[in-house]
Symmetry: C2
Subunit: 400 residues, 2 copies
DNA sequence: AGCCGTTTTGAAAGCGCTTTCATTTTTGCA
DNA sequence: TGCAAAAATGAAAGCGCTTTCAAAACGGCT
């Protein structure tokens, strides 16, 4: 075991700009005659571990708080105090510290800070699918709310499966998040109740007794959406339901039924098809309705994505929306107002929900209390719904 | 300054379940007669700092690696070795350690690990807008690729503005990410070249000499999209361009022009309108084309979202797609196949791009080399394009 | 039994920052 | 001018983990 000096001067593929900026560094190696590429590996590993960084063209050690302290001629404690404003520091020294920070391009190591303070300044967010436009809006809300705070969100997806959701939670907790925001999902409430003993947990879109929950009234929303159709004269209204394993889907179905009841319309199970909240299932739902000869003049879908799918199915058959069949969605995704025809839908304020959830979490973290704004659904009437043309007349589409 | 004992037994708003699980703990306080709520705050703060956690109904210290070591009757080093598999450990002790971990419900503190190892096991991803369906796909790809690895992505958005993008980069670097994936954007290349001296950086959707880039051929894609229209007999093809500050938008415009040239069609600047990649701008673009009496039988939009907007504008005017005007987009967002009419578009493999970017980053982190799969665009012909009905005839829509 | 080369282990020194506690300096006032 | 109180500072002990280095245990020989 000797201390050897490794000269690095070659150029590995993806790092052409490294050429010329590496210089001879000391490394501990097991033997002489190290092949060049392993020498590079050592160099690279050191860099990665932040033992060194290439800066201004030459290799130097990463700058730490003590470096700043030395440079400014004060103790590390003082530097810490200046940075965090946790105690008064004489203006003179403060200036010196700030100048040193500037000069050395110092950036605090947030991991070290986290370790010392026992918190990570990170908030875990569990969504079902990060690429879904619905969660996209919520995440954007979270991101915005956290923007000016020292906290940063980190995401993990549950893919609408309780086990994966649980895994996502585990990952986030393992990453030492300071708090959790759980969006929808079907993970057992007990698990969350267990978690909340350790850190603040806010639930969005579900109601779990004992936890701060932020939800909309799905029953009411679905009721309004369906009522809108009834008011337009529709009586045979199909419902494309969400997966009945999800509470919100159940509630929306319930709202649909209540509206029917209020409108004096008998509930017909044959007009309800269960989907999975994704576009294809909306398409399939309409196909299956048509296939079994169901008669309807309007569709209320439990979310916009399924409404999109339904619309395609209708389009394929030459059934026009809204002239022949009216269509109502739920969510009001950003793209729904640019759908053709622009979709009438029950607006769910995704962005605001994300925002409020984040604000609430922040408040809990700081021990403040916070009453989130009321988040209610709102019917947005666009162009996918129309008065029933000839009330009482049978649906205008042929059954195959 | 006395050591006092604080009894906590009341119930602050959002934590009903805390009632009964708090018990008397020791805390250091400045004075006697502490009001109950500040007592709670202390308790809460301690919990947050993981000094304690409520577990099994009673307060206990958070379990650390040394606890496991003690429980298993070995040294911390050995526990570490068992957990990380970094060295051989006698089967007997290994078992003991594993049992102790099990028994104590031990979870390693990833922050401490990160600090000690000089890395965070975190990969920073800069997108333009987290809620955009296009980035959603890429993020999903990144998430998937990182799933079985110890790494986890963290996101920050640049909102299509160089300054915010730079801020996003700063945030991520400040969070000690081990590597960066930068998606599109317009942050100066030099900044990234500076960053790559510190950590691996992979760029998606842009080409910056000196950096590993993962991009598609925008020129070729746009060329194919436009050519498709030409092959259908269209000669007056409008283009809704992306923001010309973005390289990809420029390239797509170029592809459009090349296709025209190859088709022997003169380029008409009056048929090009610049948008901002969002739906409203697509709508505006068509409005403005119509307003100034431009004649066209087809539209090639630089992305799907603008195509959506264009489609609405056409729909409003009673101009039918594809009977009156053909429409081609770019991206192939998940929702485009459920658009009405299903959108013909140039597919950009968002998910794969995210995936490959993440794989590449992993390879760089591990010092391996990796050649990403070739990511090319592909024209997806759906139902928004059709043969020009009466070639040579003027556009079928009235100019207001 | 004694010796040597492996394997296994544990002690201890960090990683970069915070925070307590004691010490030094400054200030206000007699 | 001197003294007590207040303000400012620094030394040092962690935070929970890794990793080096040296010591201990082991196994196979002679």
């Amino acid at each position: 075991m000797h201390k050897l000096t490794v000269g690095v001067g070659f150029q590995p593929a993806p790092y052409p700009q490294m050429l010329g900026s590496c210089r001879t560094i000391g490394g501990r190696l097991g033997e002489k005659g190290i092949p060049l590429d392993s020498a590079f590996k050592i160099c690279f590993t050191l860099m990665q571990q932040r033992k060194f960084s290439l800066f201004g063209g030459k290799l130097r050690e990463a700058v730490t708080l003590s470096d700043v302290a030395r440079e400014a001629g004060v103790s590390p404690s003082t530097v810490s105090r200046v940075i965090n404003g946790t105690a008064r520091v004489k203006p003179g020294k403060r200036e010196a510290v700030l100048r040193a920070i500037e000069r050395l391009h110092y950036h605090p190591n947030i991991l070290a800070k986290g370790l010392a303070q026992g918190r990570s300044l990170t908030i875990g967010v569990v969504t079902q699918e990060i690429s879904s436009p619905y969660y996209g809006e919520m995440l954007k809300g979270v991101e915005q709310a956290l923007e000016k705070t020292p906290y940063h969100p980190i995401f993990a997806s549950g893919h609408w499966r309780a086990d994966q959701e649980e895994a996502a939670l585990k990952v986030l907790v393992g990453r030492q998040v300071d708090a959790l925001v759980v969006m929808d999902g079907s993970v057992p409430g007990e698990l969350l109740l267990e978690l909340v003993k350790t850190m603040p947990v806010v639930v969005v879109g579900r109601n779990i007794p004992g936890l701060p929950c932020l939800g909309i009234d799905n029953v009411q929303g679905a009721l309004e959406g369906t009522r809108h159709l009834i008011e337009l004269g529709h009586r045979r209204i199909a419902h494309i339901a969400g997966p009945q394993s999800h509470p919100d889907a159940i509630e929306r179905l319930q709202g649909y039924r209540e509206a029917l009841q209020q409108g004096g319309i008998a509930f017909d199970p044959a007009l309800v098809v269960e989907g999975d909240y994704l576009e294809p299932s909306g398409l399939m739902a309409v196909e299956s309705l048509l296939a079994r000869g169901a008669l309807f003049t309007a569709i209320f879908a439990a979310n916009d994505q399924m409404a999109y799918g339904a619309n395609v199915a209708l389009y394929r058959r030459g059934i026009r929306v809204p002239q022949d069949v009216s269509l109502v969605g739920f969510d009001d995704l950003p793209s729904s107002s640019y759908f053709t025809p622009p979709l009438t839908t029950v607006r769910q304020p995704g962005l605001e929900m994300g925002w409020e959830a984040a604000r609430l979490v922040l408040a809990l973290l700081e021990g403040r209390s916070y009453t989130p704004r009321n988040l209610s659904t709102r019917l947005v009437v666009r162009e996918s719904t129309a008065l029933l043309r000839s009330p009482g007349v049978r649906v205008p589409h042929a059954v195959p």
